[in-house]
Symmetry: D4
Subunit: 146 residues, 8 copies
């Protein structure tokens, strides 16, 4: 039973690498997909492909269209979604991706630190499972195969 997991959430830390390398050790047949992790590329991709834009609003819109296409293609391939919130940043894309997953009936594991319990309470309540660490999310993936 191969499963594809979309990893939504912050792209400023190496949590995806940690999770992928531990999953690889376990030998489970998991494929991981997710957003563009090169932050500069993610912001610049619109102008890089389409050409220079007249202002910041249109520059951002050009990039986000391509990022959204990527997310839509990959999330539709996913069997479940893990969304990680850190303590910094606004992370509205993480909330947007998590809610898209839930509304598409894709199971969701939410990872968030204890400090974010209150502001994430409604999203946590909709998630299937809420944990605090990447290792706990990996434990949930393992449990599917036990």
């Amino acid at each position: 039973m191969e499963l594809t997991v979309y990893l939504a959430g912050e792209i400023h830390s190496d949590w995806r690498e940690q999770l992928k390398s531990k999953a690889a050790e376990s030998g489970l047949p998991l494929t991981f997909v997710g957003p563009q992790e090169n932050h500069d590329l993610s912001d610049a991709i619109g102008e890089k492909i389409i050409g220079s834009q007249p202002n910041n609003v249109t520059r951002d819109d050009a990039a986000s269209g391509i990022n959204n296409l990527r997310t839509q293609v990959l999330m539709q391939k996913a069997d479940l979604v893990i969304a990680l919130f850190g303590e910094k940043y606004k992370q509205w894309n993480t909330a947007m991706d998590a809610s898209m997953a839930l509304t598409l009936n894709k199971p969701l594991i939410l990872i968030r630190p204890e400090s974010l319990v209150h502001p994430l309470k409604e999203l946590s309540n909709r998630a299937n499972v809420t944990v605090e660490t990447v290792d706990q999310a990996l434990d949930v993936l393992h449990y599917i195969y036990q």
Copy 2:
């Protein structure tokens, strides 16, 4: 042609009252629904109905289940959704509600200040229309009836 509009977003300012009162002046057949605007009640509703909870996590979870039920009932009645982001607060519920609306194929008008152009660029790209003020959102509603 009566339309029901769900007003997602911050509950710390009176933007909903402004929008509703201006809409009422225009005489358009609009019904507005939205989240619980009494912040204290919204946080306390779990314990108020279900009884005291063992800790903050479960207190928050009890409240959020009831808030989520409310949102789900009312958003399913809505023909379109307006989501407002302000400059303060994490506002992950606003992002969650906006994404749910889009995924359910409900048209979305996003209201956000210029300062939030960059962090909201992917959500803005998915929205049908992005504006900066409540009056502009109201102009879009008027345009449907012109």
Copy 3:
């Protein structure tokens, strides 16, 4: 904002009458629907309409087809569902109706006594809200209108 509420669950007590009469006092624009509450009629309706059946299996099947048609028609009209489990009876129809509601994306309020916490834990986890009394379920309905 009129709402239709399907009341799933045991038909051996008068909990629906309690809930309806308290809701009527509150003046909220709620319409309640639910299964056939006349237990004998519910069991006999197949033979009553279609004629006598060769054995108990076919007698039960004849009745259940008509009961299921009724549930399907009325639940499709419902905006949300309340499901009550009591301490007696197998109540598999209640579980079936509650799960149908959740899978159809209809919000669910689960009412169950403390003694059933463990056997109903997975259903409770999928429900939007779990309470122990009819009055608490009514409080949740009130909260939608506050």
Copy 4:
């Protein structure tokens, strides 16, 4: 034509092993999935992954979120579902899973002893096929390939 079959139902007997071993003998390209069959692990998985909980309600809720995620992932992979009811236990999860399958348009084979004809009559009427033994369910699987 490979098919994946979700085996819902009681985890206190070895019916899944019987069914799987007989299916293996037949050489049909069937993959079987199902709930966690280690009952203690199933009840403890919440605290095992997330940590100790303040009381039984939250302990059960923590476990059930993870069990529900597992069910949702695996059932979405399934082409059809077999649900077995035995004479003991409340088995509300079995009823919940069977109804989820039917509502998701997954074909359902119901296995139940004659003694449960009456209380399961509505679920049996919605099922595609109702049988009394594991061997009969296996016969239905064989028939798909004949």
Copy 5:
């Protein structure tokens, strides 16, 4: 609780009038819709609106497009469907409409004489309820309101 009922089936007898007049006597809030009952008009409607056609195949295709549009509009309005098969005629439209209803998750009452038990066995098995007379179908409608 107003319900709309689509009456599929033969247009050569007056069964719809019988059913409607008995339903009217009962005072139930039922609205009935259905196919064009004027057989000649139904066959001629293509040429009548679009103009003369080069041969019988295209004449029939022109009529059937308009008949199918009518069915699609009205069946999408229906809460449930009653399909009647008589002993004469091929009645493939009745089978087509009944199957469309079931696939759209509209509850179906099938009316067929005892002589058609065998050739209609698969459709009868998918229907919610199978009866032999118009009065029995009306009894099922009454039961929804009891």
Copy 6:
């Protein structure tokens, strides 16, 4: 049986007024909705609401977001769609709206002159009914009520 009809197609002639006035004479309970018919307003609405844009591409994008929101809101209310193609103009919005209607399972009447038979053959084949005049489309609406 009230029906709402979305009128897609060119906004440079008065075909909608003709159709609406003839429908009004017939007394049928039809409500007509459609795109913004004031062409200048339709092109300018983006800058009018959101403010001046840096170039023609962004000016057009600002207007089209608002026009698309309008179409989405109104088409979701529609029971069927009429799409008219004339001999001039590219009319890609008409093709887009007609295809959206068909994909959403909304019945479609296509009106096109004989000169466009060949380039519209695939759309015509998907439409429920293809006619050449507004009067013929109105005849199809009448037929639903006969």
Copy 7:
């Protein structure tokens, strides 16, 4: 691009074998599925698996539940459906399967003799393509790969 094709229609002639053997010669990556072609087995399968039934109605119902499960499993795997009507038999299962396919958005090729043009006109109008011979249906399959 592998495709799975469900072959609905009469089981009294060898049209499926003809079609499969010609398709095999062409080397196209097609997999064919369909109903049980052993007529006696198809009628007897209920009693064969579940045991003897009290009368013909229940015997037929037992068989049809198993046949319907088979159809549902296999049609959900299919990318397109071919339905053949011959000049004999009532063939309501063929009409039922064809309509299920269309309503599930599965493309349909209808094969019917010229003598059935009139009674099948509405189904033919809904089908993507209508032909008169098995070879023509095969030509359509070939065209997908050209």
Copy 8:
């Protein structure tokens, strides 16, 4: 992560060959599908398979049914869609296919020359990404794998 891409748009230039050959050089696991590119065959396929037709309207309808079946089968297999508009031709099939893709929730890349900005503004606004060249579309495909 293998992806299937449907290439909608004009069949009078070799843009598909350019795109496929460049994609092949990159080694990405992409499969391309699309409409019949032999224009004469596309127009003649109806008469070629079904036989000579009485006039041009029916000749075109016969061909388009087969072309639409092909598009429906292949687009349902696609993970995303690229639609190219050139400066000539009416290209209503391109608009129809692009809108079908968007309504089916398939991500869309629109390729159009600057001269078509205005007439395609609504479709461009609904598309995920709009570019002007085949190479830019290929860049977007590459970005999914970065």
